[in-house]
Amino acid sequence: MNVLVTGASGFLGGAVAREIARAGHEVRTFQRRPSGVDGVDDVLGSLTSQADVERAVEGMDAVVHLAAKVSLAGDPAEFEAVNVGGTRTLIAAMRRAGTGRLVFVSSPSVAHAGASIVGDDAQPADPAHARGEYARTKARAELLALGSDSESLRVVAVRPHLVWGPGDTQLIERIVERARAGRLPLLDRGAALIDTTYIDNAATAIAAALERVDEVHGNAYVITNGEPRPVAELLAGICAAAGVPAPAWSVPAGVARAAGSLIEAVWRVKPGVDEPPMTRFLAEQLSTAHWFDQRRTRAELRWQPAVSLDEGLRRLAAHYARD
C-alpha cells in the first residue's frame, strides 16, 4: 500500500512512519519540516493549505493522520484551523483522490471531562466537555473523521495515552529536566493510577489499526500498555532510568482537581512560551486516575503491546547511559 503519514517529524509520527515502512508499505510523510525518517518520501507543507494537502494525498491508498497543534495555551483560532480545518481539508482531499482508508490518531482526552478514568473503554468524543483547546478541537476533528466513515472512506480513530520512550523531548525530557532542577513535585496523594504507552507499542498499535481498518472502521480505540501504575512510581521509574533523583518534595493536594486536559497535552507545553504554573497543573493532573479497558482494543486490532513498562524503562536507561 501507499501510505501517507502526516506529522512524521514528531516523536510518535516518526516512529509510526518507520513501523509502517518496516511492514513493507511505501510511506510518504507530510509536515512542515523534514521527517528525519529513513526510507520515506517527505512531502513538506501545511495542513492549512488545501493545495499542499492535495499534493500529499495524491496517489495514496491510506492516510495515517497525526499532524496536529499540540499545546496547552495558544490562539484558539489556530487550534481550530490546524486540528479541525486541517482534518476537514484532508478528508476532502482523500475523497477527491479516491484514497479509501484513514487512521485518525487522536487522544483519550477527547472524551475526558476531568473525572478519574477507572477501567473505562473508549467513550464517544465530547467536545462540549473536553478540557482545553487541544482536546476540544481534537474531539471535534475525531467526530468529523468518524462521521465521514463509509465503505468508500474507511475511518478508524486510535487514541494512544501518554506516549513515552527514548528520544522523547516532550514528556520524558521535561520530567527529567525538572527533577534535575529539583522542581518536580510529588503530591501527597501521588497514588493515582496512570496508564501509559511505550513508544514502540503506540507505533505498532497504529500500524495494526491501518492493517485492520477494513474490518474495524467506524470505531475508536484507546491504546495503552495496559500496565497502570501510581504516578509516584512512574515518575520515580523515569528519574531512575535517567539517573536523576526522584521527586522528594511534595505539594498539598488541596488544589482543585480535574482541570481535565490530560497530562500528555500539558506535558507537551513548549517551555517558556505557553507554560502554565507547574505546581498547579501537576496537582490537578496527578490526582486523578487514568486507566482503560484494553480488551476490545486488543481483540479487534489483533494487537498486543510488545514492550512492557519495565522493559521500556530499561531501554530508557540504556538511552540515557549512551548520552
Binding site: G119, R189, A191, L193, P230, E233, G237, A289, Q294, R295
Partner: protein, 924 residues
C-alpha cells in the same frame, strides 16, 4: 356522596377524568399505559382506570403468557411503583420471543408473564370520582376491573402497603383464578397487643389528617423520604406526578382515613374477612420485606407469615418501606414465579398427605432416638463433673446440670414459652447458658444465638431479624435489649432488684423459672425435624445471616464431632469456641470455657488456657485462631503445673478462619503430646474437612513438587470429615461458578458441600437460600434427597482428595488476563521478609480489573496508608508473578470482630480504588 367524615378538605371531593401520565417520567414506557372504562359498582356509570399493561406488547411479540401478575400499589404511590416489574417481565418475554422458544415449553426464566399494574381509583392517573371508597368497595372495584379486562387465571397478585390488603381481598374472592400471592411491606391485621404505628397515629389525629394528606403533600413527601438509599430527584418527581395539587390528593387522605383503627370503623369487618380468608389461600406466596419500615415493621411480617406458613420470605436487611425502590426486587419475583410455575400452577392446597412424604422426612416427624439431651438423661444421677466455670470458679455435676435443665424446661413452659417460640440467649458462655440452652431444646423452643462478636449494631439487627418471643440474658444484655427495644418477653439470669427489673421490662429471673418448674413436669419432646436453633454468621462479609438448624441436624453435628475427634463421655474439653462449648454436654464431655473476654478472643492467655485444661483434666482443646496467637505470645507465663496440664492434651483444634502453619506449630509445642488439627467449616456446616499439622506439611511438600503454574495455591484444609462430600463448581472466564459441581482435581471453583450436619436454611432469606441450595436434589416419595450447600468459598481439590481454599467468591478478581483467586498470591506475599499480612484486591470494572496488594509490615507502618517503596513493590511482583498495579502499605488491615482475622476484601477494594483514583491516603 361526600367525604362524610368531613375530616378531609373539600378539595378531596373534586372530580377529574383519568389521563395518561406525562411523557418522560424516568423508567416509564408509554407503550404500557392505557385507560380502561369500567362500570362503577355504586352508580353503574362508567369510571376510568389508568393502568400499566404489557399485554399488547406481548401480543406484538407473538408470545403467550403463562399467567398474569395483578399489581396493586399502596398509599400514596401509583402504578409507577411497579414500572421495574413491568419492564423486567417484558424484557424476559422479549428474550423468549427472540430465542424462538415457545412459552410454557420450558420452566423458570423462560416463562412469559403479563403484568397489569393498576392505579387505584382516586389515585395516580385514574379517575377522581369524588366518591368514598372504603376497603370493601376498593376490593369490589378491582374485581370489576378484572371482569372488564376478562382476566382469567392463573393470576398472581402483587401488593405493597395498603395495596397489599386490596390485592389479598381480590385473592380471597378469586380462588379459582389465583395461582400465587406476592406481598411487599404490607399488613392484614393489627395485632391486639400492639399500638398502631406512630406515624399513622399522628396523621390520624383530629385536625391533622386533611392537612397532612390532602392540603399539603406532607404524607407523600414523608413516604418518598423513606427510601434507602434516598430516591433520585427525577424518580421522586415521577411519584409526585399525579399528586401535584390538593385537588389530586383526595385519595391519599381517604386512604389514610380508611385505616380501620377499631371495630367501629367501616372497613373493620372487611379487613377481618380478608385476614381470615388468606389462611385458606394455600397458594405459593412470596413476601419481600424491608425491615427499616416505621409503619409495616417485622411485626406485620410475622403476622402474615403465621397466616401463610407456606410463604417464601426474604428480608432485605437495610431496605425499608420503599422496598421496590431500595432493592432489585423484579428479578427476584420473576425467578420465584419460574419456580412456582415449574411446580405447576395448580398446586394442591393445604399440606402434603403424609404418605407422599419421603422416608427421612417421615422419620423426622418423630422425636429423635438420641436427642441432644440424651447424655443429661443418662447421667442424671452421676456426681461426676459436667461443667466448670472459671470465673467465678464453679463445678457443676451431671446430676445438678440435668436437674437444672429439667426444672428450667418445666419452668419455661409455665412462663409461657411454647414449642417453636424463639428464645434469644444473651448470656456469656457459662453453666447458666448451657442449662438454659438444653432446657429450650428439650421443650422445642428455638434458641437464637448471636454472639457479641457481631458488634452492637450487628447484634441488634440480628436479634430483631430473628424475632425472638423471649429474651433470656444477663444484665448487660438485657440493658442493651431495653435500650434498643428488642422484642420478646425478658427473663434475667439473676434475680434483679424490683426497680431494675421493672425498668428493663424483666418478667422473671432464671431462679424463679427453675422454681416454677420444680416438679420437672416435661412436655413431649420435639420432633427431630423441628427447628432447634438459629445461629448467626460472623457478618464479616455483609449483614450477619441467621442459620437455621433442626434437632436432627444439630445431632448430626454432635455425631460428626464425636467421631472425628473421639470426644465422648468422660472426655475433658476446653472449649474456647462457642459451638463446641454448647455441644459439650451433648457429647458427654466434661467441658470448660477458659476465662476470656468473649467479645475479644485476643484476650485469652496461655495461663488461662492451662488452668482451664487442669480444671477438667483436658484431653481436647479447641481455640479460635485469634485466641491462639495470644496464647502462644503469653506462653512465658506458664509454670510447671500449667505445663503438666497442657501435656495431657492429645487433640488440639483451631478453626473459624485459616490458621497459619507456623501458629499451629507453635501452639503444638505448648501441648507436646497433642496432634494439632485445623478443621474447615462455617456456621452453615461446622465440620466439613479436617487436616493435621503433619498433613499441612505433607500437602505443602506435594504442592512444591508440582511444576510451576500447576498449583493454584490456597490454604489446604484437608480431606472431608466423616460422611461429608466435597465438590467444586468451576469458575468461568467471568469468575462465575457456573460449572456443574464435580470432583476433578486442579479445577478452581466454588466449594459445594453435602453432609447430614449441614444447616436447614437461612432464616427468612429466600433469595440467599435459592443460591445456596442450587445443587440440592429434593427428596421424592420413597427416596432420600441430597442436600448440597454452596459455600461462597472458592478453592480446588488436589489429586490426593484434599481441599484447598483460595478465597471468597465475591473476592475473586477478574483481570483482562484471567481469573485470580486471592489467597495463593497473598500467601506468597506474606512469605516475604518484613511482610506480616497481605490482602489482594481488585479495582475497576470486573473483566478488566487491576490487582492491588494491601499489606501490613513487620514492624507495623507508622502512617495509616502509603505506597510501598520500589524494593517492596518489586519483591511483591516477583513473588506473585502477577502484574500488580500498586502496593499499598497500611498500619493495620481491617478485620471482623469475631475472628479478628477475616478481611473484607470487597470493602478493601472500594477503599483501594478511591485511594488509587487520587483520594487521600487514609486508613482503610
Amino acid at each position: 356522596m361526600s367525604h362524610g367524615s368531613s375530616r378531609l378538605p373539600r378539595s378531596a371531593g373534586r372530580t377529574a377524568a383519568a389521563s395518561l401520565p406525562p411523557a418522560g417520567l424516568p423508567g416509564m414506557d408509554a407503550r404500557f399505559s392505557r385507560l380502561v372504562e369500567v362500570s362503577d359498582g355504586g352508580s353503574g356509570r362508567p369510571v376510568a382506570w389508568h393502568l400499566l399493561d404489557n399485554g399488547p406488547v406481548l401480543d406484538e411479540l407473538g408470545v403467550t403468557p403463562v399467567g398474569t401478575l395483578l399489581c396493586v400499589h399502596g398509599n400514596p404511590t401509583w402504578s409507577y411503583l411497579w414500572r421495574g416489574l413491568v419492564a423486567a417481565a417484558t424484557d424476559a418475554a422479549t428474550a423468549v420471543a427472540e430465542s424462538g422458544s415457545e412459552s410454557g415449553s420450558g420452566s423458570g426464566s423462560g416463562d412469559v408473564w403479563r403484568v397489569i399494574a393498576v392505579d387505584q381509583l382516586e389515585m395516580g392517573f385514574s379517575e377522581r370520582t369524588g366518591t368514598e371508597r372504603p376497603l370493601e368497595r376498593r376490593v369490589a372495584d378491582l374485581s370489576a376491573l378484572t371482569n372488564t379486562l376478562e382476566l382469567s387465571g392463573p393470576v398472581v397478585t402483587v401488593g405493597h402497603d395498603w395495596g397489599g390488603v386490596v390485592s389479598m381481598g381480590w385473592a380471597v374472592d378469586h380462588p379459582d383464578e389465583l395461582a400465587g400471592v406476592v406481598l411487599l411491606n404490607t399488613a392484614i391485621h393489627q395485632p391486639e397487643d400492639r399500638a398502631i404505628p406512630w406515624p399513622l397515629r399522628l396523621t390520624l389525629q383530629r385536625g391533622m389528617l386533611g392537612r397532612a394528606t390532602v392540603a399539603t403533600p406532607a404524607f407523600l413527601e414523608t413516604t418518598l423520604a423513606l427510601a434507602h438509599p434516598p430516591l433520585e430527584a427525577e424518580v421522586k418527581n415521577g411519584y409526585r406526578a399525579p399528586y401535584r395539587s390538593a385537588d389530586r390528593r383526595g385519595g391519599i387522605g381517604a386512604f389514610v382515613a380508611d385505616i380501620p383503627v377499631d371495630e367501629q370503623h367501616v372497613s373493620w369487618n372487611e379487613l377481618e374477612r380478608i385476614a381470615a380468608g388468606v389462611r385458606e389461600l394455600g397458594v405459593p406466596s412470596l413476601m419481600l420485606w424491608g425491615p427499616r419500615d416505621p409503619i409495616f415493621s417485622d411485626t406485620y411480617l410475622d403476622d402474615l407469615a403465621e397466616r401463610m406458613p407456606q410463604a417464601d420470605i426474604h428480608r432485605f436487611e437495610g431496605a425499608g418501606h420503599m422496598i421496590a425502590e431500595d432493592v432489585e426486587y423484579a428479578p427476584v419475583v420473576l425467578d420465584w414465579l419460574g419456580g412456582i410455575h415449574s411446580r405447576s400452577l395448580s398446586l394442591s392446597k393445604g399440606t402434603d398427605p403424609v404418605e407422599k412424604l419421603p422416608f427421612d422426612e417421615l422419620r423426622e416427624r418423630e422425636p429423635s432416638e438420641r436427642p441432644l439431651w440424651s447424655v443429661l438423661d443418662e447421667l442424671r444421677d452421676s456426681t461426676e463433673t459436667a461443667l466448670v466455670d472459671m470465673k467465678p470458679f464453679r463445678t457443676v455435676s451431671w446430676r445438678l446440670l440435668s436437674r437444672r435443665v429439667r426444672q428450667l424446661a418445666a419452668g419455661l413452659v409455665r412462663a409461657g414459652v411454647k414449642p417453636g417460640d424463639r428464645v434469644s440467649l444473651l448470656i456469656p458462655p457459662s453453666a447458666d447458658l448451657t442449662a438454659v440452652l438444653y432446657a429450650c431444646l428439650r421443650i422445642g423452643a428455638v434458641v437464637v444465638v448471636a454472639d457479641a462478636g457481631l458488634g452492637l449494631p450487628g447484634l441488634t439487627r440480628a436479634v430483631r431479624g430473628a424475632r425472638p418471643d423471649h429474651v433470656i440474658g444477663a444484665l448487660p444484655g438485657l440493658t442493651v435489649a431495653r435500650a434498643f427495644s428488642w422484642p420478646g418477653q425478658k427473663i434475667s439470669t439473676t434475680t434483679l432488684p424490683l426497680p431494675t427489673a421493672l425498668a428493663l421490662g424483666v418478667r422473671h429471673s432464671l431462679g424463679e423459672v427453675a422454681r416454677l418448674g420444680a416438679d420437672e413436669f416435661l412436655p413431649e419432646p420435639p420432633a427431630a425435624s423441628a427447628v432447634a436453633a438459629v445461629l448467626f454468621t460472623s457478618g464479616s462479609t455483609g449483614p450477619a445471616k441467621g442459620v437455621v438448624y433442626t434437632h436432627a441436624q444439630l445431632e448430626a453435628v454432635r455425631d460428626a464431632l464425636s467421631s472425628q475427634y473421639d470426644v465422648g463421655v468422660g472426655t475433658g474439653l476446653v472449649a474456647g469456641f462457642a459451638p463446641f462449648a454448647l455441644l459439650g454436654p451433648a457429647l458427654g464431655a466434661r467441658s470448660v470455657t477458659p476465662d476470656m473476654n468473649v467479645t475479644s478472643p485476643r484476650t485469652l492467655t496461655a495461663k488461662a488456657t492451662a488452668r482451664a485444661a487442669a480444671a477438667v483434666d483436658a484431653s481436647v482443646v479447641f481455640l479460635s485462631p485469634a485466641a491462639l496467637a495470644n496464647v502462644v505470645a503469653t506462653a512465658d507465663a506458664l509454670d510447671a503445673s500449667d505445663t503438666a496440664a497442657l501435656a495431657g492434651v492429645h487433640t488440639f483444634l483451631s478453626a473459624g478462619a485459616p490458621v497459619p502453619e507456623s501458629l499451629l506449630a507453635a501452639a503444638g509445642r505448648l501441648m507436646p503430646n497433642a496432634t494439632p488439627h485445623t478443621p474447615y467449616g462455617m456456621t452453615e456446616g461446622l465440620l466439613m474437612t479436617d487436616i493435621t499439622l503433619e498433613g499441612i506439611r505433607a500437602a505443602a511438600d506435594d504442592a512444591a513438587a508440582l511444576p510451576d503454574g500447576e498449583h493454584a495455591g490456597g490454604v489446604c484444609v484437608g480431606r472431608p470429615a466423616g460422611s461429608v462430600r466435597v465438590r467444586i463448581a468451576a469458575l468461568d472466564d467471568d469468575g462465575m461458578p457456573v460449572g456443574a459441581p464435580g470432583e476433578q482435581p486442579g479445577v478452581t471453583g466454588e466449594i459445594v458441600l453435602s453432609a447430614p450436619h449441614l444447616k436447614q436454611a437461612y432464616d427468612r432469606l429466600w433469595v440467599t437460600n435459592r443460591v445456596a441450595d442450587a445443587d440440592s436434589v429434593p427428596a421424592a416419595a420413597g427416596e432420600q434427597g441430597e442436600r448440597w450447600h454452596r459455600t461462597g468459598d472458592v478453592g480446588h481439590l488436589d489429586s490426593a482428595g484434599r481441599l484447598w481454599v483460595e478465597g471468597r467468591l465475591p473476592h475473586v478478581i477478574v483481570t483482562a488476563g484471567g481469573v485470580i483467586t486471592p489467597v495463593g498470591p497473598e500467601q506468597r506475599i506474606e512469605s516475604l521478609l518484613g511482610v506480616n499480612r497481605a490482602a489482594l484486591a481488585g479495582i475497576g470494572p470486573r473483566g478488566t480489573q487491576q490487582l492491588v496488594a494491601v499489606l501490613e509490615t513487620e514492624p507495623a507502618a507508622s502512617r495509616p496508608a502509603a505506597l510501598g517503596d520500589s524494593d517492596l513493590v518489586a519483591a511483591v511482583r516477583h513473588a506473585t508473578a502477577l502484574d500488580i498495579a500498586a502496593v499499598l502499605v497500611v498500619a493495620s488491615l481491617p478485620t471482623d470482630i469475631r475472628h479478628n482475622s477475616k478481611i473484607d476484601r470487597s470493602a478493601l477494594s472500594r477503599w483501594a480504588e478511591g485511594v488509587l483514583s487520587g483520594a487521600k491516603l487514609s486508613a482503610p
